[in-house]
Amino acid sequence: MNELERLRELLLGDELQSVQHIEAELLHLQKSLEHPEALIHHIVPHFSKMLVNASSQDHAAFEKAVVHALNSLIEQASAESYEPVIAKISPLIYRELHRYTVSHKEEVSDLLYPVVGGMISKYVSQMLQDMMNDINAKIQHGLSVQNIKRKIRAKLQGVDESELLFYESMPVHIKAVLLIHKPMGAIIAHRVDEGGSIDEPEMVGSMLTALTDFINNWIHKQEQFSDVNEINYGGSKIYLESSGHSYLAVLLDGQTTQDVIATTNEVLEKILDNYATPIQKFDGDLASLPAHDIRKLFTPLFALNHHSTPDAQTPSKWPLAAIVLVLLALGGWLYYSQYQKEHFQAMILERIRTNPHLALYAINTAWQDNALVIQGKVPNQKLKDEIFNVVMTKKFPYEIENRVLVVKPLKDYAKSKHLIAKQIAILNSDPHTNLSYSVADGIVSISGETASPKELKQAAAIIAELDAIKHLYINVTDVSDRDYSLYFKSGTSAIEKQHAPLLETIASLLHKHPQAHLTIIGYSSPSKDIVQNTLLAKSRAQNTTAALIALGIAPQRITTQWIPQPPLFRENNISKSQCVKFYWYNIAQERE
């Protein structure tokens, strides 16, 4: 031990041991700094406690300090690169958002609605606004033929022009056209737009038929409806145009515009012009109908896909052309109005002239200040009043004035005779009426038989009103109850001798009234064997038809039907139920 060490020992004594201990501790700490993991391991438990203590003692100050530190950290990290920050935070945010959205759907929806809803509504409004601007521009500046046509069409249909234009502005895409045999639901021909396809067209045809049949037969059963004409599915539509034995089904996206409806009508008309009979007789044999040729007739419908909107035409730059077009439109409109009036006038005149009571008198019509005036002379007020009954059967767009005069006729024998002849001829147009008459010295005699006693009474009243007529004698047999039936023995359907007189009468009536048509219905007894009854009723009707054809009656004037039951009110009379009955109808009257 040297002098210095001895001195140290004398001065520090016991503390020397403590200093050595401190030196060792310092050395240990220095070593720990060289290994931070070990240091963290020691500090972390205390750090958590320290944070908890700090936040509980002065929460506001602690929060401020932490936020500041975090902001600095994020800023610093972001300044270097966003990606690592985003990569770290995104999954956390996404997971939390997802969890919250699932558990608070309605709240999230309410929260987002003002933003998302606003965005959507802004987009849609903008789209509609653009469309309306487009429409307005077309209305204001359009002097094209198309626009004038549209104006006329809007007027005729009674709709607003902008509404019509709105529908026209909606894009239409014809995806497929199918001609379907209505009773079978079979596809006769179909065609799809370029690039498109349709799975199982036969299934589509059958399903459409089943659906429309169901709707027509059940839902519309009690109502005066025609066939269903539009079915919506997804975002598309099926527009159906129906004829007697077929549907034309047009599958389209967009609105069923007037163009689509009109073109579908035209196409169906063309198809029926060419193929109505084969379609009617179609029994599943696909060779009986030329599908390829029919498909060609669908072309106008697909042409609508490439049709440039009528509005592509710019407003006329040439005033002269515009004036010409306006004049043409005006001319067209005037011509149409005139046509409407003439059509209306002709219809009124037809009603008057086909009425058996009014047809005898010279009644005419004329236009005065947009009102149709009925003029002429009739012999009594009753007939004048009848004009209104005949004419006013439905609401008309024009005013009608009845200015017919009631004038007591002079004793014009020749004219009276002519009127009587006309009345009798009208009555004789009924196949079961056979009247003759004579006029001499103001005395009229009518004789014969009639199945229409009510009509005879009305005619007699008119004849009796004639001034030239002093007396009217009627000697007419009422045959309205006459039984025009052929009866058959049980289990038979053959035409026998006793049937001949009635068959000849029926044949002569048909010859006498070439406009008349006859429906023959065969009946049977009410026994339980439905098959036997059906065969008998059918055979009775067919044999009767054959007998009339043999008597020179054209087959197309006879309709043959059968019902395996007794006729109405003969259910309990077996001998009267085994029969054939004749039902007349006059084609002229039917058309009227």
Partner: protein
């Protein structure tokens, strides 16, 4: 080869196996669609037929499986419009369905007295109460093509049933 499209209506009481017969025959389940609301199930099968003379025909067969009826319930007549033939299905295990057979035949004859039909006694894999003999009297109908015991479950006579009736609509 001539091409045809034919519509055949399958009728019968509830639960006699109309749909099972049709699906067994058609097999392709993707081509069927059930319009349960309106009571008809339409299926399609393309088949090739040949007759004794070697004539061939391609037929798109549209099977209209009409919802089953019970006694006194009528099948809507509009489904039968334009159909070429009927298949009447009875259940071999339920005599009640045989009792309603006459009702179905009346329906067919009211629709068209000459239209062909075939009777299928289905579920013949089970203990049968309805036998061929018990419906033999139906053969008096000239338009009754045949009466066949079938089993949709065991695929017994199903092909024969549909082929026979379809052939009758073509030749």
């Amino acid at each position: 080869m001539k091409k045809y499209i034919k519509k055949i209506l399958i009728i019968g009481n509830h639960g006699v196996g109309k749909t099972s017969l049709a699906t067994r025959y058609v097999e392709n389940k993707f081509s069927d669609a059930y319009l349960s609301t309106i009571g008809v199930n339409i299926m399609k099968k393309n088949i090739i037929l040949s007759d004794h003379d070697g004539n061939m025909a391609a037929v798109a067969l549209m099977l209209w499986d009409v919802e089953g009826t019970n006694k006194n319930q009528n099948i809507p007549l509009h489904y039968a419009k334009g159909c070429n033939a009927f298949i009447v299905v009875v259940d071999a295990t339920r005599p009640q369905t045989l009792e309603n057979l006459q009702q179905h035949l009346d329906y067919i004859h009211n629709f068209d007295v000459a239209i062909p039909f075939i009777i299928a006694i289905n579920k013949s894999d089970l203990e049968s109460v309805v036998t061929l003999e018990s419906v033999a009297f139906k053969r008096k109908y000239s338009n009754c093509v045949d009466i066949i015991k079938t089993s949709a479950k065991e695929d017994d006579n199903v092909e024969k049933l549909f082929t026979l009736i379809t052939k009758r609509t073509v030749w």
